[in-house]
Every structure is written in structure tokens, then in C-alpha cells.
Symmetry: C2
Subunit: 396 residues, 2 copies
């Protein structure tokens, strides 16, 4: 692995330093001893968390208890005041510990129900990023998984005919073709589901080309996430038999790993993705391409980086590490893309016009138009963004 370098700050020159005074070295030894105690306490805490996981599993109690988390945060913060510690330090430490505690409980299968029926799941495209992620997920909750991909001896059609549930996890442009090919092989009492970023067309195609139950699925995250906890998955009920067991089975599998389930209809989903994906991707893509064309080297702008600029820069660079094919398909297949493109273009024209005319009044009017849209959300956004900026500066 590459040595991880600091982004925000680097000592400009190496200056040879005199040896440190003994009294400083002694204090550092005291800190080392205190840190040993601290890690020992954390390890004991971790051990108790494992036992909590066992009790919760036995009594079918969910991993996350927001009331308990809030009361821990409040209590630890009030204790820290009497101890002369800063509020925000204790809060930040406990945010890390609470998340780690939930992650540990999820790893121990706390929310995997004992009575979850075991099904055979065929993952078509099982060698791709999302395919692997879902294959691991279903295995971790006790399901049997069949992988089929371009390079497996098991063909997609065979896998589909042998499975109870069939997941389509292939590149977006291939989705319809694969659905048409394997849909007819799905069992009548089975489930056909997908992970495509749009929902109207794939759900329609799955219904047309199979006789089984159909659920459109859109995981709102990519394969590189560190945790599945709190990650959202949109479920669109396509076609379901009366008393179909599938919605419940799928929800329980996903919730067992801490994911959040959101039900929606296909149209509402695609409309929202016009903003969540099409608009925000377009904005990032235009920014990245303009940076490339202006050609000021990153090393130069980094010298002058504010934390907000650095954050924009790393999120933009991250975008261009992902799949161009996926991003192209998201634009080209979303029915709301033309409307989004028009709004973005007109907004650009209006801003540039006000700047060109040095018309501060018009600039203020546009600024207020956007400010008002965010409304009450702004307060939360300020708190959360300041927190993120602090975490970024912390890594400097």
C-alpha cells in the first residue's frame, strides 16, 4: 500500500531539531501508560458489546437503540464537564465508539433472525462489485448463493432455473437484455429482482419477461462502502402474488446487516434520482472537466486550499475514479434528464449574466432564491458540514 500522505499540510522544510528535554520524554511516557489503560478499557468495552449482541439476538432486540445512544452522549458529555474535558472531543470519541459497537453487533449476526427461511439466490453478474457485495450479504445471513457471470461455467439461465430468487446485477446497458434472456427461466413461485439505478424500465421489463414475483431494488451506495449500516436501499414492488413471502424475506435479509429499507413507486424513484443522481453528477462532471481544461495543477491549488475547496476536490476526484459507463447510462436512461439539463444551463446563464454586468443586486436575488429553497435545512447543514470540515482538518 502507498504511504498515506497528509493532504492539507506538510512541513515545508526538514529542520534538524535538538534532542528533546528529559522532562518532556517523561511526560510522554506518562501519556503512553495512560493510553495503555485507555486501550485496555476499550477492549473490555468491546467484550461487553459482544455479550450485548448475544442477548439482543436471543430476545430479538434491534441493534440500534437511539434512546440509549442519546442518553450515553448526554451523560458522557455532562461527566466530561466536571472532568475538565471538552464537550466536542467526548462527543466525537463516542460517535466513533457507538458506530463501532453497532458494527460489531452486526458482524456477530445479532439481527439475523433464526427463523429466516433459507433460499437459493442466483446472483447474475456475481463477479462485479455489487454482485460480490450482495453475494456476501446473502451468504452472511445464511442463504445459499449461486454465482453466474460471463466467465462462470454455470450459465445465467441455468442459475436462474435452479434458484428461488434471482438477482440481476449487471452493467446498466446490459440489464434489459439479461432480463429478457433469463426472465423466462425464473420459477413461477420465485423472485426476480435487480440493482439498476433507474426503476421504471427494468421493473416493467422484469414483469413482461417472467411469471414470478418482481421487486425493483436500488441500493443507494456503491461497492466500496466500509459498512452497510444505515445504507439505504429503495424497494419498488413490481408484481407480487397474494401473501407473497418475498418482500418480507428480502427486507429481513437487508435489515439483518443494518440497512435501511425505503419503499417507493418506480416513478417517484426516477423523479428523485433526477436530483440525487443526474443533477449532482452533472455538476461534479462539469466541475472536474473545467478544472482539467483550465489546467492549473492540483499541487498548485492545494497550496492555497481551504478545507471547503479540499473537500470539493476530493469528492470530485472520487467521482472520476468510478465507472464512466455507469454514469453515462444514468444520464442517458433517466426520463427527467432533459429537464434537469435545462434547469442547470439556465441557472448557469443567469449567474454569469449577473457577474458579467457586475450586477450585485441581481446576484443577491439569485443567491436568495437558492438560500430560500434550503430553508430550515440550512441549520442542520451548517452543523454537519462544520463537523465534516473538522474531521478533514484533523487528518491534516
Amino acid at each position: 500500500m502507498k504511504r498515506q500522505e497528509s493532504l492539507l499540510s506538510k512541513t515545508p522544510d526538514h529542520i534538524s531539531t535538538p534532542p528533546l528535554p528529559q522532562e518532556l520524554l517523561d511526560l510522554r511516557k506518562q501519556i503512553d501508560r495512560l493510553d495503555s489503560q485507555l486501550l485496555e478499557v476499550l477492549a473490555q468495552r468491546n467484550h461487553v458489546v459482544s455479550r450485548v449482541a448475544g442477548v439482543k439476538k436471543k430476545h430479538q432486540i434491534p441493534i440500534r437503540d437511539r434512546e440509549r445512544e442519546t442518553s450515553i452522549l448526554q451523560d458522557r458529555k455532562s461527566t466530561c464537564q466536571t472532568l475538565g474535558l471538552s464537550d466536542s472531543v467526548v462527543e466525537n470519541v463516542y460517535r466513533v465508539l457507538l458506530t463501532a459497537s453497532r458494527e460489531r453487533q452486526a458482524d456477530l449476526g445479532t439481527e439475523v433472525p433464526d427463523n429466516l427461511s433459507q433460499r437459493t439466490v442466483a446472483v447474475i453478474g456475481g463477479h462485479g462489485g455489487m454482485g460480490k457485495l450482495f453475494a456476501n450479504l446473502f451468504e452472511s445471513v445464511g442463504q445459499e448463493v449461486l454465482l453466474a457471470d460471463l466467465d462462470t461455467t454455470l450459465t445465467p439461465t441455468e442459475a436462474a432455473s435452479r434458484a428461488d430468487a434471482v438477482l440481476i446485477s449487471v452493467p446498466m446497458r446490459a440489464t434489459v437484455e439479461v432480463i429478457r434472456k433469463i426472465g423466462p427461466s425464473c420459477r413461477k413461485d420465485g423472485l426476480l429482482f435487480d440493482v439498476t439505478s433507474t426503476k421504471v424500465e427494468p421493473v416493467e421489463e422484469m414483469i413482461q419477461n417472467s411469471c414470478c414475483d418482481v421487486i425493483g431494488t436500488h441500493p443507494m451506495f456503491g461497492p466500496s462502502v466500509n459498512t452497510l449500516q444505515e445504507q439505504r436501499v429503495v424497494l419498488v414492488h413490481g408484481r407480487l402474488r397474494e401473501n407473497s413471502p418475498w418482500p418480507n424475506w428480502l427486507s429481513r435479509c437487508l435489515k439483518a446487516r443494518g440497512m435501511l429499507i425505503l419503499e417507493s413507486d418506480a416513478e417517484e424513484h426516477d423523479r428523485s434520482m433526477g436530483i440525487v443522481q443526474v443533477l449532482t453528477h452533472l455538476s461534479t462532471q462539469v466541475l472536474g472537466l473545467a478544472m482539467a481544461r483550465l489546467g492549473v495543477p492540483i499541487t498548485q491549488t492545494m497550496r492555497f486550499a481551504s478545507p471547503v475547496y479540499l473537500m470539493g476536490l476530493i469528492m470530485t476526484a472520487r467521482h472520476f475514479c468510478q465507472s464512466s459507463e455507469l454514469y453515462g447510462a444514468i444520464h442517458m436512461s433517466n426520463p427527467n434528464q432533459p429537464e434537469v439539463a435545462r434547469a442547470f444551463s439556465q441557472s448557469l446563464t443567469d449567474w454569469l449574466e449577473s457577474v458579467k454586468n457586475k450586477d450585485q443586486e441581481e446576484f443577491d436575488r439569485l443567491f436568495t432564491e437558492a438560500h430560500n429553497f434550503f430553508g430550515d435545512f440550512s441549520d442542520q447543514a451548517l452543523t454537519q458540514s462544520t463537523h465534516l470540515i473538522d474531521r478533514l482538518v484533523e487528518r491534516g
Copy 2:
């Protein structure tokens, strides 16, 4: 203060829950006891850090010691493996503790040199956000501060004539006017400096309208930051007498609070700000206005939020909480704005053309053009952005 709400996730319904089993309550009591120990150790650690501050001050040792930080991180991570704790949890906890330790040392004046000469600093615009921030900063390092603003009995001109160093911290559009008014009152052996976001014009004006030393200053952060540590300040040497004491005095004042000093010339600064400020602000402004005009309520898109979308949303909403006047002035006064606007517009046209023509090949070409620009930076960006996403999910 408003109750802070969770952004990413909210329990959809309040379900009345059965009482918790006694064995869970007992385990929670164990966790509470361990947490008391943990906070006690943190308080002791904090106390030792205060003593470290005293020793460092006595021996003039800088607060930050990157070697020591790296060795602490490595050592604690290797210990945690034998204790069955996860690497990343321990790293995240220690990032918080190391930053807190530096902050505490800075609060205790560790890097405030005993031999820093005491000067009188007039802060013109001392009631504004940045004015207050710099007034506090100079006071905290033992300087005498005079505040002048529109509503003070002390006029800016009087303040300037009574001070050794005069800081212009007024709205951007008023900067030139204020410089012309108070410049002639500055003492010949004094310093005139500013905090404007461009540097060519204000530095030129300060030189033209005074006889004293001139340093252009651009703090790369706003008044709402939680810490000054690792924040960057650009210094542009405008006019300096031979053996001028001012560059050294100013650097030492700023470094005493942990800030990073960057020297630049005015032209290089303004060129870089074409990217760091003009381009990234434009991108955020267009995105925010387009969101407002498309009018899909935030509550609706938040239901479907991925962490990346949420991050973009909070950073955009944050932007529109800042000063429209400042942002307008940054665009209208930067000499590189027209070039930036052209690059952004052309990039938008090219992306939209490829999408409209459903030309995936052309889309890939544009994508690669941007991807290649980020080059080696992408690896760091992926690591850092994943870290930020984790921290955001943690608050869910």
C-alpha cells in the same frame, strides 16, 4: 439551541417496545462503569497534555510533532490488534485525541513566544466576523488591539494614526475606499495589511496610499471555523523597508495559534483563486439554483439520499448561508473570472451534447479527460473521501 436532528436516518414510526430484559440492563451498567473509567483516563491524559504545553513553551518546542503523532498511531494500532479491537476504530479515536491535544496546547499559549514584541494593532472593521476573529487572535498573543468600525466612537483614521499595525477587515466592495481614506494616516514605520480575497488590487492600493510597510493577507477560512490550527494564511509581501520587523512579527503571531503561513506573489495568488474560489463557488451556485428551480423538496430527495448526495447537499446549503455580497465581489473582482466562466460553460455544453446524442464513447472520452487530470491525486482522494463518508454516516 435547536434540537439537532439526524440527517441520514430516522425511524419511520414510533413503535412501542416491550421492556428490556434484565441481562441487557446489567450489561449496560457494565458499559457505563467502563465509560467512567475511560473518561477518567482521558481527563488524566488531558492534564498531562497541559504539563507538556508548559515544558514545550519553556524550551520553545513547537506544539506539533508529526513523528510523535505517527509513532503514537502506529503503536496504538499494533496494541489494539492484540486486544481484539479494530484498527480503524483506534485510529479514529486517536485522530480526535491528537487534535484535541494540540488545541489544548495552543489554548495554553505554548507557541506564543515570550520575546514577541508588543504592538498596537488597529482592526478596521473590528465588529465584522473576520475583524473579531483577528482582534481575538492578536489579543491572545499579547498584542494591544484598537477596534474601529462604523459604530465605534474611535474613527478608523484615528485608530490608524494611533496604531503600529493597521488591519483592513471590511466588506470587499469597501476595501479600496477604506484603504484610500486611512492609508495616509498610517505611521511611516508601521504596517498596513488586509484580509481581502484578491490580492493584486488591494496590495497596489495599499502601496499607493500609504508610506508604511505593506503585506497583503488572505486567510483561507471564514469566521465560523472551530479551530485556527492548520488553517492557511497567504501572505503577499507588498512593500517592505530593509530589515523590516513586520513579516516576522506577523508570522509569529499567526503561527502562535497553529496557522500555516504561505508566501506568494499577488498574481499567482489571484490565478489560484480563479480555481479555489471562482470556479468552485460557481459550480456550487449553479447546483443550488438548479435545485431550487427544479423544486423537488429536500425532504423528498433526502429519503433517497446516498452519503455522497447528502455531503453535496450540506456543502451546498452551507454555501448559501454565507455572504452573497462577498461571493459576488469574489467573482466580480477576480481577473481570471471570464476564463473560468468560459471553461465551465464549454464543459457543460460538451457533457450535455454527449448525453443528448446518447454517445457513450464521447462521454467516456470526456470522463477520461477529467480522470487523467486528477492523476495520482485520486488515490489520496479515495482514501480521504471514504473517511469523510464514514464520519457522515456515523452521525446518522
